[in-house]
Amino acid sequence: MDLTPHLPALQVIVPMLSAPLIVLLKPRGLAWAGATAVALLSFAVALNMAIAISDGAHYRYDMGGWAAPYGIELSVGAFSSLILLIVTGAAATALLAGRASIDSQIEPDRQPMFYAAWLLALAGLAGIAVSADAFNIFVFMEISSLASYVLIAGGPNRRALPAVFKYLVMGTIGATFYLIGVGLVYMMTGTLNLADMEARVGAVDDINPILVAAGFITIGLALKAAVFPLHVWLPNAYTHSPHMVTVFLAACATKVAIYVLIRFDFFVFQSNFDWHGSHFSSFLMPLGLLGILVASAVAMFEGHIKRLLAMSSVAQIGYIILGASFVTQDGLTASAAHLFNHALAKGGLFLAIAALACHYDDLRLDRLAGAARSMPWTSAALAICGFSLVGVPGTAGFISKWLLIDAALDQGPFAWLLVLIILASSLMALAYVWRIVETLYKKPAVVQPSSAGEAPLELLLITWLIALANIGFGLFPQFPLNLASAAAELLMGHAL
């Protein structure tokens, strides 16, 4: 039978339905193998759809055979496809590379549940990306959130617990705000399907509930996406979670929330209300700019390498938000491209850190001095991904920064200020990345590694694969750029 029309559904149900079965795989290593196979399969599905979509296809799927808006519709276009690639790619990569790292951080008898939670997080994030129904997005947001709380709580240090508690509380508030917003829109339009909302929301006479709804949805999702200053849960959650979980979640979890934020605002409100574009930019542009500056500055003085990169993630979220807040085709393209490129760079960086952690228990920066001598390959990969994060020409990060500056130049009289801020923050990024590189390469060793030599081979290979991908997508950026500009077209198409 032909499974092609079912791909959007399979993207979600394959990892989701595998999760209960993974719990049953008690023997050592089997749960890992099962979860990895499922994650790779999901990646294959996402890749398959992405290729068809870059040729102009668009997937729609009626769950239960009930046509929208009565049933729940799945819809995969360019934007969702880009997000799916990031999510499934990050999940599969981290699992493939991470067996040794996970083995050292999670006790064997708890591992089946850990891997099941991993697949649920994957299914939840993928479910958000494919869904075209506002309430269905909430349900899958909760699946992914609960599963990621579980994953983070697996952290080896007791500090993981307060960190995950904070994340749980703030995440739940965010999700509930979103639910209030959806409720208000539903109250005024009588529908839950996003496309149907777009068609009906324009006919609403009493605009106040819609205004308040837009506020609630934006704030709730900004909380989930860790937009500055609502990011306070993020640094500790990323720092204290198991290393592989950081790779997975840092690459995609907040980006899915940004995706929903952009998608909801542009699909439902943008085409109906003249005020929406200016509200959207006047609210998010300052937050984006502040986030870029403050988080980069904090990252420069951070002493723990994972915390440093977590703060840098907050700054990168600022770039993505900034691009979207221009409400132009170019700005959105830059945003979407940066979603992809940042996932590559940050994923690679955290992979390299997981490799360092194989021999260094303490990941404070001063303890890592001189690590390049015993782990030259890991350190080199870390440096490449770091330069991609900064946006050095020839790396993936450069492409999206360039697009962002290009988009900023169209922003009227204050364009030079925007460009200045982007350049200044890139310099700050260079400063903190250089600090890491300098510590690894130049400084004399303070702590002897627990054992000499490199990280396990599979981890090292995958880290290098991602590092090379950072260069590859820097030199040949066509594929993600095509998807990104198609995504921007889709979003702005609604504004025309």
């Binding site: 309430f135 307060p162 739940t172 508030i173 639910l179 409720g183």
Partner: protein, 119 residues
């Protein structure tokens, strides 16, 4: 203003007040269990908002028994959504409490400021 209209506003105001009481508890209290209690009040308020909008004047619960086809029924859809949301709420709560238990075991306290001091 008739009574039903008053009740309509009253329902939304109660929603707003209870929502804020819940949110206040989450933000201002430093006891972790109290925060979770606040969280569940906060979520309950949203349930009230959804269920309030399902009411139709003179309607009954949406169960269409034989011979009742002509009756007015209240809206079933918000009810379905809230059934889901209630279960989501209890799941979050259970997970939160499990984390609180582990925090107490590792830190000996469930007050946020003492936990911060301990690290």
């Amino acid at each position: 203003m008739n009574l039903l209209e008053l009740l309509g506003y009253f329902n939304y105001w109660v929603f707003a007040i209870v929502l804020m009481v819940g949110l206040y508890t989450v933000i201002a209290k430093i006891n972790l269990v109290k925060k979770l209690i606040g969280l569940s009040i906060f979520q309950s308020a949203v349930f009230l908002m959804y269920i309030t909008m399902d009411k139709v004047e003179g309607g009954t619960a949406p169960i269409i028994l034989k011979g009742m086809e002509g009756n007015v029924f209240s809206n079933p859809l918000p009810q379905v959504l809230i059934l889901t949301a209630i279960v989501v709420g209890v799941s979050t709560l259970a997970l939160g409490l499990a984390i609180v238990v582990r925090i107490y075991e590792s830190y000996g306290t469930i007050e946020e400021d003492e936990i911060l001091d301990a690290d």
